[in-house]
């Protein structure tokens, strides 16, 4: 791949002519790079080895949980049970993401599912669902995932290796890339009244669980499940009336 074709792919993506796995993966890669670099940097600052950084980014491959692990490793006496429960709770939302993705994989072989689901992230999930063809294509969908997976691993290493040379990603505004991408995707999903109601319900449930009840990361799962019930309930009512 030469730079020119990457550039022309970027241009077609911006003018929305032809969508390829790379154009789908690009906003995720943009958002992952600074976060993975920060992770590499923090691992280095905690005097953990480069293999630890790489192992966490490739074997665990889950942003928030990786930072939580670093926090736990900084404590002197951690129990392995605590590690398990922390990671499990932070990543429990992957259960509903994978479950929600299953209907798209009806034609996939066992192996195709087995290589896709272990590296499914919030961002891949969201981006893939915006494209009705790629999301059902086991090879194209896997390509999107593997591009973002490699970005995460490579930039973890860059962050670790060039710890002192890295500029603050905040200057470039890249810390907002994933949130801005999610906004762009949410808009693509909204085309009926039920979805607008689900969107508002999710905001309200999230404010309630996160800020009022202080449920932390668990709030995402609670809010998502309840807001989906609201959307589903409205759909059922509108169909029966």
């Amino acid at each position: 791949m030469c730079g020119k074709s990457l550039l022309s792919q970027a241009r077609t993506a911006l003018t929305q002519k032809q969508i390829t796995p790379l154009t789908l993966a690009m906003p995720i890669m943009m958002g992952y790079a600074p976060i993975a670099m920060t992770f590499g940097l923090l691992t280095y600052q905690q005097h953990l080895g480069v293999w630890t950084a790489l192992a966490l980014s490739t074997v665990l491959y889950a942003g928030a949980a990786q930072f939580a692990i670093l926090g736990l490793l900084a404590l002197s006496n951690i129990s392995l049970g605590q590690v398990f429960i922390t990671v499990f709770l932070i990543n429990l939302r992957h259960f509903i993401l994978s479950l929600a993705y299953i209907p798209n994989t009806k034609q996939w072989s066992f192996f195709e599912k087995l290589r896709f689901f272990p590296i499914l992230t919030d961002e891949n999930f969201a981006v893939l669902l915006t494209n009705s063809e790629i999301k059902k294509d086991p090879i194209q969908a896997y390509r999107v995932s593997i591009l973002t997976y490699s970005t995460w691993a490579v930039f973890t290493l860059i962050g670790y290796g060039f710890a002192s040379l890295i500029p603050d990603p905040k200057i470039l505004g890249l810390d907002f890339a994933l949130s801005a991408m999610f906004i762009g995707i949410i808009i693509l999903f909204i085309d009926r009244l039920e979805q607008i109601i689900t969107f508002i319900a999710a905001i309200l449930f999230m404010l309630f669980f996160y800020f009022v009840l202080d449920c932390g990361r668990f709030s995402v799962i609670l809010a998502a499940i309840l807001a989906s019930f609201v959307g589903w309930g409205v759909e059922c009512r509108r169909k029966s009336s």
Binding site: M30, F95, I96, L174, A180, G184, V220, F229
Partner: protein, 105 residues
């Protein structure tokens, strides 16, 4: 890599794959009902919305405050998104907007 870290990596892998892989095995054993699949259709929008809500707040000394720069960039991104319906463009505009706000401040 010490034994402790090796065990931490191994356990955290199990903890996360339990969530990522189990739906694949469960779904092959059970048939998903039509109304369950309709409920699942609302998961993407609700998960994504729930994930970004805390991003617009920052915590200083135990209290939550709205992060104005994020909020403005979010609203700009929302407008561009509604207008152009293009994910990549929305991402770029949001990022550039936040960078400019920080540059101007």
């Amino acid at each position: 890599m010490s034994t402790k870290i090796f065990l931490v990596v191994l356990l955290s892998m199990f903890a996360t794959q339990l969530s990522r892989l189990s739906p694949m095995f469960i779904s092959s054993k059970f048939h998903m009902s039509e109304s369950f699949e309709r409920w699942l259709k609302y998961i993407p929008i609700s998960v994504l919305t729930a994930l970004i809500v805390p991003e617009f707040f920052e915590q200083t000394s135990g209290e939550f405050h709205i992060n104005t720069n994020y909020l403005i960039s979010g609203i700009v991104a929302l407008c561009v998104g509604l207008w152009k319906k293009n994910m990549l463009l929305t991402t770029f505009v949001g990022v550039i907007c936040l960078a400019s706000l920080r540059f101007l401040a």
